[in-house]
């Protein structure tokens, strides 16, 4: 980690852009937060299973 931090510091703006682009390419198509996504899914499915609306019915002015 120490080595990584040293490599990341002191980059020019152009180098930083190139580096960030490289990381985007490397991680493309992957869910980087699978646990959090799973929790969000559980939350929404539980809400659905309870027969509840996500957007409460008394929420005026919201299109359904």
């Amino acid at each position: 980690m120490e080595t990584t931090e040293k490599q990341l510091s002191g980059m020019t703006e152009a180098e930083e852009k190139e580096f960030l682009n490289m990381v985007l390419e490397k991680t493309r198509g992957r869910d980087l937060f699978p646990e959090k996504t799973a929790r969000a899914r559980e939350f929404l499915k539980a809400l659905e299973a309870n027969g509840q609306r996500l957007i409460p019915e008394n929420f005026k002015g919201v299109r359904s």
Partner: protein
């Protein structure tokens, strides 16, 4: 295969994207972005005591009432392990700038997914986190873990401080998790300790 669009951007003027006084958000890092129909992802470098690579990702979670719901993820990206650390405190001395950088991606999300819903949950809000915290707590945690739900509290505080201005553009809902799977959502009421925040455009 998905179609991807990639842009590398200098941060756009927030006043164009976020119609409110967010001058404090101008103090944010350069972010790079990558979008597909299932995710919208950003990376930036936090330059505090150390230089740390940060990732922000909006990931499709579920379709609900004909709207796609995306979940916000944020954490440190560890290149050597090729994984995210979203439960650690980096303590890099630039917490506000990092938070601003995360928040500054939200208007961009709604520019791309204007009919969809954004969901925010804390990475320290799950039952596993609470159980693990109680086992390892060094802060006199007794009946509850003091670290539990700290992250969603940061987002709640931001919403509460800017509620009037944000409400011109967005609807806010608050979600409670009551006894594991019993979940309730309601129109956001200031001061309530929600487990989740849901946001969508007016």
């Amino acid at each position: 295969m998905f179609e991807f669009e990639i842009w590398l951007i200098s941060f756009p003027p927030l006043s164009k994207l976020f119609p409110l006084n967010v001058s404090n958000l101008s103090n944010s890092y350069l972010v790079s972005e990558d979008k597909s129909s299932f995710e919208y992802r950003f990376f930036f470098l936090s330059k505090g005591a150390n230089t740390v690579l940060k990732a922000v990702q909006y990931t499709y979670a579920h379709k609900f009432e004909d709207r796609n719901v995306y979940n916000l993820g944020f954490g440190d990206y560890d290149r050597s392990g090729d994984r995210i650390q979203d439960k650690i405190h980096t303590n890099n001395g630039d917490a506000y700038k990092v938070f601003n950088s995360v928040i500054s991606t939200t208007p961009m999300f709604f520019e791309k997914f204007s009919d969809d819903i954004l969901m925010v949950l804390g990475s320290d809000g799950g039952s596993e986190f609470a159980e693990n915290c109680k086992r390892t707590c060094i802060k006199k945690c007794e009946s509850f873990c003091r670290k539990f739900n700290q992250r969603i509290t940061i987002y709640r505080n931001y919403v509460e401080k800017n509620f009037v201005e944000l409400s011109r553009t967005y609807w806010f809902l608050g979600g409670y998790i009551i006894v594991n799977t019993h979940i309730v959502t309601e129109r956001y009421i200031l001061g309530r300790n929600y487990d989740a925040i849901l946001i969508f455009k007016k």
